[in-house]
């Protein structure tokens, strides 16, 4: 009867600890460990052979990896900026609507309600070179004489993927910016009008600085999203043809599950996560400085 009694607070926190350990900590440590081994799914014994920097070295010296890395950053940059501009435009227009604005706002969210896989299939069809809508339209309007190989040419395929991303996620920006517009104080805008600003100057010097924090929040959220882009790309091009649209995660997915080289895939995964963290930190710092700019404290 001398069983040591745990203090009640520890006892109460225990379930949470256990669940977190089982769900997050163990897989995390395991994957980190396996990234130090030449672990292959088909040869379980390889899990016990530690070979520390090997996988990381291999990834960092592999031009294919760097191409996928660069393409991911490119996709991120183009998609985020396009979504920001379109979302801003959309939000500014919707904010002006007097009647039926609620309905419009709901409609704006429709693209977000679809599974990315379905969006991928839809755009794969739209850009299909034989039966796709785009080629059909271009040809019947006489703008193109032959079928354009949208999903075959590397640049065009990236363009098609960006279209799908933008279609699906512009509303994230639009909705967050709209929230910013609703919170926009009217007085400084009126002061700007009296101070001689044209509508454009009012927007440039008063509205936009106020919206920047909202834009950076959307950027931070979306950068995480796009940096892990997999589904749409996998469906539309599968990273192909001939790896011309390969992104970090399609490459990692193939290495891990098709080639079964889990150790290597995990190592690349950790590098990819660093990229995501870098983007998030960057936008977070921008957000903070934009808030400080507005005198909103830190």
């Amino acid at each position: 009867m001398t069983r040591a009694k745990l203090p009640p607070w520890l006892l109460l926190l225990m379930p949470a600890f256990l669940i977190l350990a089982a769900v997050v900590l163990v897989p995390l440590l395991l994957s980190l460990y396996s990234s130090f081994t030449p672990y292959q799914l088909t040869r379980p014994e390889t899990l016990w052979k530690i070979n520390f920097p090997f996988n990381y070295e291999k990834a960092l010296t592999d031009p294919g990896f760097w191409k996928a890395f660069g393409r991911t950053v490119l996709l991120l940059t183009i998609a985020l900026n396009l979504e920001m501009l379109l979302g801003l435009g959309l939000a500014l227009m919707v904010a002006k609507v007097q009647r039926g604005q609620r309905t419009l706002r709901t409609m704006m969210m429709f693209p977000m309600m679809f599974s990315p896989i379905l969006v991928g299939f839809m755009f794969k069809f739209i850009f299909n070179d034989n039966v796709g809508l785009v080629n059909n339209a271009l040809q019947s309007m006489g703008l193109a004489s032959t079928a354009i190989p949208w999903l075959v040419d590397g640049n065009l395929a990236l363009f098609a993927i960006i279209c799908a991303e933008v279609w699906m996620s512009t509303s994230v920006f639009a909705i967050l910016i709209l929230a910013g517009l609703f919170a926009l104080p009217q007085d400084p805008l009126e002061a700007a009008k009296v101070d001689g600003c044209t509508p454009w100057q009012s927007f440039r010097y008063v509205t936009l600085p106020f919206l920047m924090p909202f834009i950076y929040i959307a950027m931070a959220i979306r950068s995480l999203d796009v940096a892990r882009a997999y589904d749409i790309v996998q469906v539309m091009t599968g990273g192909g043809p001939a790896k011309r649209t390969e992104l970090l995660w399609t490459m990692i997915g193939r290495t891990g599950y098709v080639d079964a080289r889990m150790g290597y895939a995990n190592a690349m995964g950790y590098i990819a996560i660093l990229l995501s963290i870098a983007f998030t930190v960057y936008f977070f710092l921008k957000l903070q400085s934009a808030r400080r700019e507005l005198g909103m404290g830190d």
């Binding site: 400084p188 009126e190 002061a191 009296v194 101070d195 001689g196």
Partner: protein
């Protein structure tokens, strides 16, 4: 510098009329003060002149241009907003210089104007702060500064001093007056504070419920209020009003006290009136100005006294109404004391009890 004319200007929000067809002509360089109780439409009127509010009817002219459809930036006016309306993301310096930057002035010119304004408003040590780090009074001064760096045709001030402490307010009042004398722009100034109104205005415009009740110089509205509303609104303490019935050239109050009608006033017996007496014209015997030719006397019980130093304000009871009287060369008064008061009848006003209109006119 420009004249401003309001011709039958109306403002309604849906079915709700907040400004009813007002007419007002303001001369070039004139300092006009709008006063009136909260919600009477002062800010709305000012905002219509600024172009921030659509005009529901009538015309507004600045100079000789009808500005109804001109955006604010083409009206060349500066405005100080009731709630400051500073740019939160700009420093005080940038706030002050913003309109000049928009007007594409050179940086040297902007700096000069900003430093000058900051000097007048004692903002120099705060130039690099953001509005979020300023007190209410400091923000209000920045808002003032933003208007005075420009040289507009018309200044619009919406209660620009309401958040300052008494000392700063007096100081700023003087600065505004000086500024007006120096630049000579037309000014439309909204305030609740009747001392501001009396001291600053060339003309006072008294508004109520979206109507203009009276327009006149400070002395005109003080000495000849058109009705009981103006009489009680202008002047501090407010004019005392005693209700009674005319009978044989006298006013009979409800408790039987009679006071003679002011000289020169002839009214039919039985008419219900209100006698208006300012506190300066009802004083206890022995503590009053020298008596004039037309004096009346009443006994009143003092309820409360407020010593102000050189004079004391006495709150007394007459025919169930509270009357405020002044006592010069004061001595301590105990509550409950009955004093004999002299009323200078020639300074009193008679108003119709129903319509409130001044019958002496």
């Amino acid at each position: 510098m420009a004249q401003v004319h309001l011709k039958n200007v109306k403002k309604s929000y849906g079915a709700l009329d907040v400004v009813h067809s007002i007419n007002l002509s303001i001369a070039e360089g004139e300092f006009v003060v709008l006063v009136g109780p909260s919600g009477c439409g002062k800010s709305t009127t000012l905002r219509m002149v600024a172009g921030l509010e659509d005009i529901s009817g009538g015309e507004i002219l600045i100079g000789d241009r009808v500005v109804n459809d001109l955006p604010p930036r083409e009206r060349n006016l500066a405005m100080v907003f009731q709630n400051y309306a500073l740019y939160p993301h700009m420093t005080v310096r940038e706030n002050l210089g913003f309109s000049l930057k928009i007007a594409k002035k050179s940086q040297a010119e902007i700096n000069k104007a900003v430093d000058e304004a900051a000097e007048i408003l004692a903002l120099t040590p705060l130039l690099d702060r953001k509005p979020g780090a300023l007190s209410g009074g400091q923000r209000q001064r920045v808002a003032m500064g933003r208007a005075i760096v420009r040289h507009p045709d018309v200044f619009l001030f919406d209660e620009p001093l309401s958040n300052l402490d008494a000392k700063l307010r007096t100081q700023m009042r003087v600065e505004i007056k000086k500024l007006h004398q120096k630049v000579g722009s037309t000014v439309i100034y909204v305030t609740h504070d009747q001392i501001e109104a009396m001291t600053l205005a060339d003309r006072i415009v008294i508004m109520r419920d979206g109507h203009i009740v009276q327009v006149g110089t400070p002395l005109e509205v003080f000495e000849n209020p058109v009705n009981t509303f103006v009489a009680t609104f202008i002047g501090s303490p407010p004019m005392n009003l005693l209700t009674g019935v005319v009978g044989g050239n006298q006013i009979g109050l409800t408790d039987g006290t009679t006071i003679p009608l002011p000289p020169g006033v002839k009214l039919a017996d039985g008419r219900r009136v209100q006698l208006g007496i300012r506190a300066d014209n009802i004083m206890p015997d022995g503590h009053a100005l020298p008596p004039t030719a037309h004096m009346a006397h009443v006994d009143m019980k003092v309820v409360l006294s407020e010593p102000l130093g050189t004079e004391t304000v006495l709150f007394a009871q007459l025919a169930g109404t509270e009357v405020q009287a002044k006592m010069l060369n004061p001595r301590p008064v105990t509550p409950g004391e009955v004093l004999r008061f002299g009323i200078a009848l020639d300074k009193c006003h008679i108003f119709d009890a129903e319509t409130g209109l001044n019958l002496r006119g």
